[in-house]
């Protein structure tokens, strides 16, 4: 097991390096640098645009910029945001907590898909299954932005129950603000979990060991909890790992619609203004979270399924 973990960790480090190098190049090769939008201002002359590029370190050759960036990033120094004029890590840090709150709450809501999927499978063809299938189908078909806007109109504007933005004050106030965006954000995960668990449970119900357990005289609930669910939940571990990056990086659409001050919106802002230090800080964090999530899922899978360690 140790050699499996070490091998996967080493692969992850190499992958991380390759991805952030590619990201660095893509970001810098995108047309229109940070100074481009400022050229629209008649007060900003050509000389000043050149000075800006110089100040931002953009007149160096790309390989030189890359070496400087990697050297500094290794010390978690991503430079000063061009427009916030503060360290990029500081700006990202301020947005991380709202995103974590939203992401974790959405995660909790997404996990409701596990019992829903199990209930649907165990009551296949009956009312409970139909209801879950309806939720899953509608949840998968409705675009996030539409659902977000509709819920704001219905539950914010008309009733005033759930206000927009990030909550302040006590836990109830906090919950009133977060519940709508978290539900919208978590719905996608809930749908995936419910589908995966339902089909996993249905597959497992047909396995020989389940039939054996029943033949031994175990009750339906014991068979379901001990034999069916423990095996059906194995694929869910992969999905859990995949959710980590979205918890850390935020989701642009949800954050935009609900005016949630998180990393997703910061990423969009940095991308559209070509704030390279900020953009690269967010992307590095997201890349790290994605690779870490995948690694954790692999290791977790290896732990529960020994066959994976030798793959």
């Amino acid at each position: 097991m140790t050699s499996f973990v070490v091998r996967r960790a080493a692969q992850s480090v190499v992958l991380f390096f390759i991805v952030i190098s590619g990201v660095f190049c893509l970001v810098h090769l995108t047309p229109g640098g940070p100074e481009a939008a400022l050229a629209q201002n008649p007060r900003v002359g050509v000389d000043e645009l050149q000075q800006l590029r110089q100040r931002f370190g953009l007149n160096d050759a790309l390989p030189v910029q890359y070496v400087k960036w990697v050297t500094n990033a290794a010390h978690l120094d991503f430079g000063q945001s061009y427009f916030y004029q503060r360290p990029a890590t500081q700006v990202v840090g301020e947005r991380l907590m709202p995103t974590l709150q939203l992401g974790l709450m959405a995660y909790v809501i997404a996990l409701l898909g596990v019992p829903l999927g199990a209930v649907a499978a165990l009551h296949r063809g009956r009312m409970a299954d139909t209801l879950v299938q309806l939720i899953v189908t509608v949840g998968a078909a409705v675009p996030t932005w539409w659902l977000g806007l509709s819920s704001i109109v219905a539950l914010n504007s008309l009733t005033g129950w759930f206000p927009n933005g990030q909550g302040q004050g006590n836990a109830v106030e906090w919950l009133k603000y977060i519940i709508l965006p978290a539900s919208v954000l978590g719905l996608g995960g809930l749908v995936s979990f419910a589908r995966l668990v339902r089909s996993g449970v249905l597959d497992t119900l047909g396995e020989d060991f389940v039939r054996t357990a029943r033949a031994k005289g175990l009750g339906p609930s014991l068979v379901a909890s001990r034999h069916v669910l423990t095996n059906a939940l194995l694929p869910v571990i992969t999905l859990l790992g995949g959710l980590l990056p979205s918890v850390l990086s935020g989701t642009l659409v949800t954050e935009y619609v609900f005016a949630w001050p998180g990393v997703g919106r910061l990423f969009y802002e940095a991308a559209t203004s070509r704030d390279y230090p900020l953009l690269l800080a967010v992307l590095t964090m997201t890349t790290f979270a994605t690779i870490l999530g995948t690694l954790m899922a692999d290791v977790g899978y290896g732990l529960v399924d020994p066959r994976v360690r030798y793959a």
């Binding site: 940070p34 481009a36 201002n41 806007l149 109109v153 559209t272």
Partner: protein, 546 residues
Amino acid sequence: MSAASAAGASTTAGGKPNATPAAANATPSAGGALIEAALGNLSKTLHPYPDSASYTQPWIDAAALIWGGADGGGALLAFDWDTLDYRPAMAAQMPRVSSDGKTFTFTLRGDLTWSDGSPLTADDFQFAYEQGDREDNRYVQLDLLQDIATYRTPDRQTVEVALKDARPREVALGIVNIISPVPKNVWSGRAWNDAASNPEILHPSVVLGPFRIQDFLIAEHATFVPLDRYYLGRPTVPLVEILANQQPTVAYESLKSGRANWVHALPPAQYEEAKANPELSVKEWTAANAPYRSLEFNLARPFLSDKRVRQALAYAVNRADLLDVADQGLGVPQYSFVQPTNQRWVNNGVDRYDFDLARAGQLMQEAGYRLQNDQLLGKDGQQVRLQVVYPTSSGPRTRIAAYLQQQYRQLGIAVDAKGLDFNAYTDQVQGRHDFDISLAAYGGGSIDPDLGVKAQLITNGQQNVTGYSNPRVDDLFKQAAVELDSARRKQLYDQIQALVNADLPSHYLYALNSVDAFSNKVHGVTTHRGNRLDYNNALLAWSVDQ
């Protein structure tokens, strides 16, 4: 930030006495808060002297509240958008001007104080000038400061500004008024541009007013509370809140639900419904400095270098239809580089190129292009193709591109509409000049052509994306920049407008209306001739029901 930046100037003679808002002497009110659902970000800095990267509309809005504002009480003079002229603000009266027209002497009012109660003196102006004039401090309007020869403060109440050259009155007042005071006692010895070591940049502890910051969370919202000792009086509203980054539908819903009571720049999609809503009041006007849309032709392209071709392309556009299609009719046709509502400078006698498709086809034939099987054939026998570029962040410009595709198809021209994100668009148009027609939007700044539109039309001007070069136009702009006689100056700009429209490097389409929506609980809002409501002085007079 001074009035010059956003206000510009006019040539009306003399300034009227300081128009203290009606609410200036009012006692604190128990009214409700003014809550704006803002579509954009909050400013990333509250520095009184921003650099070019920080000088944004959110900064201007925030500065209006804490530093007196662009057109309000934050400088020696304020630009009055009703009269389109300057009036005294922190100066007790209009300046004395030396006989050579170069030196302007201001006497400060005696009741100026900072938010902490310390006196605001000429030293604070001098300190601000010295900092703003330093190249390494990167002040966005440094170019205007370079027209100043000396900036002196002989005593605590007097500011004396000497220009290098005599300039027309409106331009000169814009320049000498560029400096807003900075609290020297607070900022002296601090890093001017390093937010990490100077907390004043993000959260100024001492401000001018009329408000001070209560809460400022860049990604969420900001709240401001009135100062008791602002020299123009205490604002009527007890609190101003700005909700940042509201999605347009959400902003409008917030207005309807009462969470907010003001949406600036109401999106056209919500306009009709807002007008019909009895709970809301929609203010709509076309400003003297209204933003406007135009087609920019790349004159370096052989096809477009022929004036008859550009004229044909202009005749093929129906401004009224386009205004309806792209901006829901919220604007007025514009025929030159000066907005039709800028009565001070507009020349109404220029060539208009009103819609005439037959004339457009005829001009193409005269230019040597023939129509065959509904295709306009170029001199190489291939169908003429045009690349129209625009920023995808602008819905109206996306619709204009689609309209042009249809209209120019009737001339036999194939249009490739290329939408780009804003920075890539700017880079393609201004950086690489790789386009045939650019869908541009200008305006919103000064009403004086010398302070704004000139950069688009003079040879190698900073915003001259068409490659237009006419020595006669360059010369007339030079003359107008130093012409001291207002009537003669108007004639010069009339000539320039006529010449530019005859050459047609750009085809001017229409000026846009400003549209703001309010809850009926907000009282005292009046529009004026600027494209944004007077965020500074107006707040002294507005009130909100509980």
